[in-house]
């Protein structure tokens, strides 16, 4: 089993090499670690994912910047990968495309408006 773990911006390649009742051998990058028998020695991280409603079709700003162009209007039906917004940031011009297909329900920004990374720009239905 191979996994990639992103921690503090760095990506680690993790591979579970061997798993039986007595031991688990895990490779992280080029180093191998073996976890032995006693159950308390094997720490299992309880992963908790933030609650997110994946049924919501929201297009968010991937970077802080200024809205240079809006290519859609309320009521438009847009297809996946359609160009939605041009966001300028530090001389980078970023074409934001849609990850979803749907009808434009709400446009929450206007031209020349400054937005922060993570701000919701457009809502689809």
């Amino acid at each position: 089993m191979k996994l990639k773990l992103k921690l503090n911006g760095k990506i680690y390649d993790i591979e579970v090499l061997q798993k039986n009742n007595k031991a688990v051998k895990v490779k992280v990058g080029d180093k191998e670690f073996t976890f032995q028998e006693k159950e308390e020695d094997i720490r299992i991280a309880k992963a908790s994912f933030p609650k997110r409603n994946f049924s919501k079709k929201e297009i968010v700003a991937p970077i802080t910047g200024e809205i240079a162009e809006i290519f859609i209007k309320k009521g438009d039906f847009i297809k996946k990968e359609k160009k939605i917004i041009l966001l300028s940031a530090m001389k980078m011009e970023n074409e934001i495309i849609s990850d979803f297909e749907g009808k434009v329900k709400k446009i929450l920004i206007s031209k020349n408006q400054k937005v922060n990374k993570g701000d919701i720009l457009v809502m689809l239905e």
């Binding site: 991937p62 970077i63 970023n94 074409e95 495309i97 849609s98």
Partner: protein, 172 residues
């Protein structure tokens, strides 16, 4: 480094975005009929200048922002090392000599929740003899400053090499 050498294009960045080639493909044109910078500002691109776009590998958007800033330093360093010219960087990424613009860089990305495509375009006023009236007080070229021709291919290769090195460092 795969270089596509072209005579005349509208814009190397526009072509790169349309064709979406492999990472580190270089689109190099001798002339641009519609070269542009930020906010689609016109970039004077006659024969003699150096106009190229570098298709970047998929990179985190924050790293791309850093790379865009570093690109101006790479251009300035290349010009200083080769021609002993004193360059001034107007942040985020224009390069000036004697208070006149000599180079500009524009990164364009296509992204949604992650980066789908990135291209970095470079416009360098290298072997340009003169500028139109509306630009002659704000733009200069290496030929005007040095009074001699420069080797565009050598400059291109050094910039791309610098870019690769910096991207490797910031992506680690």
């Amino acid at each position: 480094m795969k270089i596509q050498r072209l005579e005349k294009v509208s814009s190397t960045n526009a072509l790169a975005k349309k064709e979406r080639g492999e990472p580190w493909t270089i689109i190099w044109a001798q002339e641009q009929s519609a070269g542009y910078g930020t906010k689609k500002d016109y970039w004077f691109s006659p024969k003699g200048g150096l106009y190229f776009s570098v298709i970047l590998p998929k990179t985190d958007i924050d790293d791309l922002q850093t790379l865009t800033l570093l690109a101006a330093f790479i251009v300035a360093k290349t010009l200083k090392e080769n021609f002993a010219l004193d360059c001034f960087i107007k942040l985020p990424n224009d390069v000036y000599i004697n208070r006149k613009k000599v180079a500009g860089i524009l990164t364009e990305n296509v992204l949604s929740n992650d980066t789908k495509f990135s291209v970095m375009g470079f416009g360098l006023n290298t072997n340009i003899n003169q500028f139109p009236k509306d630009l002659e007080n704000t733009a200069t070229s290496l030929k005007i400053e040095l009074k001699e021709q420069v080797n565009n291919e050598k400059i291109l290769k050094q910039i791309v090499k610098g870019l690769k090195k910096q991207l490797k460092t910031i992506s680690q």
